[in-house]
């Protein structure tokens, strides 16, 4: 593998695949940071399990991206040889773990979108994407259930856990708008039946969230200003540090086989 970062011509299809892949990889990376440090052993296992699902989903999408991009690229080229500005994940998944409430709220917000998104993607006209989604949606259903149950425990637990969940929800809420954005590349793919239209999933997202939040004795924050930019490569400062860890060995030993 050469030393330089990848130079990619992003067709709409490639951009669409990389957005899904990068969401999964970066969220998996964040979740894997918990390994060995969770509030209880069961949660060490559960968070590692969700992280593993995410990394697995990312690998499937990257493998397809490599096929679409051609030129002998591999899944690792996409993960290890792109600069932060070439990453296409949403800002939500790169946000730091925070306390356990922060991680759980981030997971609920992402899964409440991603689970129905994958389910809709099973109907894609692109057979590969449909197949990846068919495998992944069983996993994301669990991610939503697990994180949703935890949010209910935290919200309807002690005063402290309620306050922490409330704070996390307020802090992460501005990153939810981006999940439903559609740019020109995305619109072309929606038009072609390759990707689902995220805007059509908004009502379901709100309903899922309201159901969980009401059990958790929490309320959905009011609209407010929404952050944006991840899909176009304008990230928060956090992503650079994630990639510094993630890519370190590949960057330090260019061309080596591991």
């Amino acid at each position: 593998m050469p030393t330089t970062s990848l130079s990619l011509t992003e067709t709409p299809l490639l951009a669409g695949i990389l957005r899904r892949a990068d969401d999964a990889l970066i969220l998996g990376h964040r979740l894997s940071e918990w390994c060995g440090h969770a509030p209880m052993l069961e949660e060490d296992i559960a968070l590692a399990n969700i992280a593993l699902d995410c990394v697995g989903q990312a690998r499937s999408f990257y493998a397809y991206a490599a096929e679409v991009a051609g030129g002998g690229l591999t899944e690792d080229d996409f993960a290890y040889r792109r600069e932060a500005g070439q990453y296409r994940n949403c800002l939500l998944v790169e946000q730091p773990n925070g306390d356990f409430a922060g991680t759980i709220v981030r997971q609920v917000l992402f899964s409440a979108f991603n689970d129905p998104y994958y389910r809709a993607l099973t109907g894609s006209r692109d057979a590969t994407l449909a197949a990846i989604a068919a495998k992944a949606e069983k996993e994301t259903a669990y991610h939503l259930r697990h994180s949703g149950e935890w949010l209910i425990r935290l919200g309807d637990g002690t005063d402290e856990s309620h306050a922490r969940a409330r704070t996390a929800l307020d802090e992460l809420w501005p990153y939810t708008g981006e999940l439903f954005e559609v740019d020109a590349a995305e619109a072309a793919l929606i038009e072609a039946g390759t990707l689902p239209d995220p805007r059509s999933l908004r009502a379901g997202f709100d309903a899922t969230l309201d159901h969980i939040l009401s059990e958790a004795t929490l309320t959905r924050p009011a609209g407010g200003w929404m952050q944006s930019g991840g899909r176009a490569g304008r990230h928060s400062e956090h992503l650079g540090f994630i990639l510094a860890d993630l890519q370190y060995l590949q960057r330090a030993h260019p061309g080596a086989t591991w």
Partner: protein
């Protein structure tokens, strides 16, 4: 809170008289006949204590062992390696959970055992007090540390205490997979660039002697072995297991083209064994005494995680109680017409 009420101990005799001696004789006869002892069976208190200590130390080792390996999950060099390492560390957590459960069948709760670890009253394997400095350490841990663990644990699959023996069967299957994975990492590094091979050699240099220490002090100085052998908890001595490990591992290292950091390592044709040089038992003592390179760091990480998670565990309990109260209140309501 996690302990099941399996152990209403039938106090044999308050006076420790003839009944006690008879029960002990019956117990030993069962052990000699290779029967498995189960949680509800009568057992000598010393047997219970020995096993509780051994199984909980084993569980603690799995949990502390997650830290040095977890250290490299975010930096794994390929996505495949990342997934494998994450799955491996998750397996260790699973082993810990499994082993705490086995220990609980002897009457001590997981909280109590974890408290012992965090308070520094319980031990865990000395090996996890060494740092993972490069990616090759992940290969070396799999190959050598898991390799040594398997040598120790395979005989435990026939341990006289049923829950521990059964746990070990599953644990050993996973450990042997981890060992092959670790060796494959080493093989890839040794076939790689000169820098990668140097990384592998450096890892072997650092991990070899601490791995030999994993089997514990030499037989002449071991405190627990005699009674444990009689109870069929331990079927091979520390030195026997160490020799088995060296014999199995040296040819593997030679195949990798690596050099063991022991100038005295030589094959004894007559005996059919690899003879190794003197182990620095002072280093082992120091690591057990808390002076290894990472003892304080590992314990701090465990204590910090436990403390940071306290509010989460309290919330889960509080919520469970609220739910139970609401369910009880709903049951108490008169049926609507």
């Amino acid at each position: 809170m996690y302990t099941q009420a399996l152990n209403a101990k039938e106090n044999p005799s308050p006076l420790g008289g003839p009944e006690d001696a008879q029960a002990a004789a019956r117990f030993q006869a069962r052990i000699d006949a290779e029967e498995r002892i189960e949680p509800n069976d009568w057992m000598p208190e010393a047997y219970r204590r020995t096993l509780t200590r051994q199984i909980s130390q084993h569980a603690h080792s799995e949990i502390v062992g997650m830290l040095p390996e977890g250290n490299w999950i975010t930096r794994a060099p390929t996505l495949k390696r990342k997934a494998a390492l994450l799955a491996k560390v998750q397996d260790e957590a699973g082993h810990g959970l499994y082993l705490y459960s086995a220990a609980e069948t002897l009457g001590t709760s997981r909280e109590e055992l974890v408290d012992q670890l965090l308070a520094g009253r319980a031990k865990y394997s000395s090996i996890f007090n060494y740092p993972t400095l490069t990616w090759a350490d992940i290969g070396a841990i799999g190959w050598l540390v898991d390799g040594a663990a398997i040598m120790n644990q395979i005989p435990l699959c026939r341990c006289s205490y049923g829950p521990y023996a059964r746990a070990m069967i599953r644990v050993c299957k996973e450990e042997s997979f981890h060992q092959r994975q670790g060796y494959e990492i080493m093989l890839t590094l040794c076939r790689g660039t000169p820098e990668q091979k140097a990384m592998a050699q450096d890892a072997l240099n650092r991990w070899w002697w601490p791995c030999l220490m994993m089997f514990g002090p030499p037989d002449a100085e071991s405190q627990h072995s005699d009674q444990s052998a009689k109870w069929k908890i331990k079927r091979f001595s520390n030195d026997e297991l160490r020799q088995k490990f060296v014999d199995a591992t040296v040819p593997q290292g030679q195949y990798l083209g690596l050099t063991f950091p022991d100038p005295d390592l030589a094959y004894d044709e007559a005996a059919g064994h690899w003879r190794y040089g003197a182990i620095d038992w002072e280093e082992f003592k120091q690591v057990l005494a808390g002076n290894g390179p990472c003892n304080r760091q590992r314990m701090k990480q465990r204590r910090d995680a436990h403390a940071a998670g306290a509010w989460v565990r309290e919330a889960a309990l509080a919520h469970a109680e609220k739910r139970a109260r609401r369910a009880a209140a709903a049951d108490a309501l008169p049926q609507a017409a």
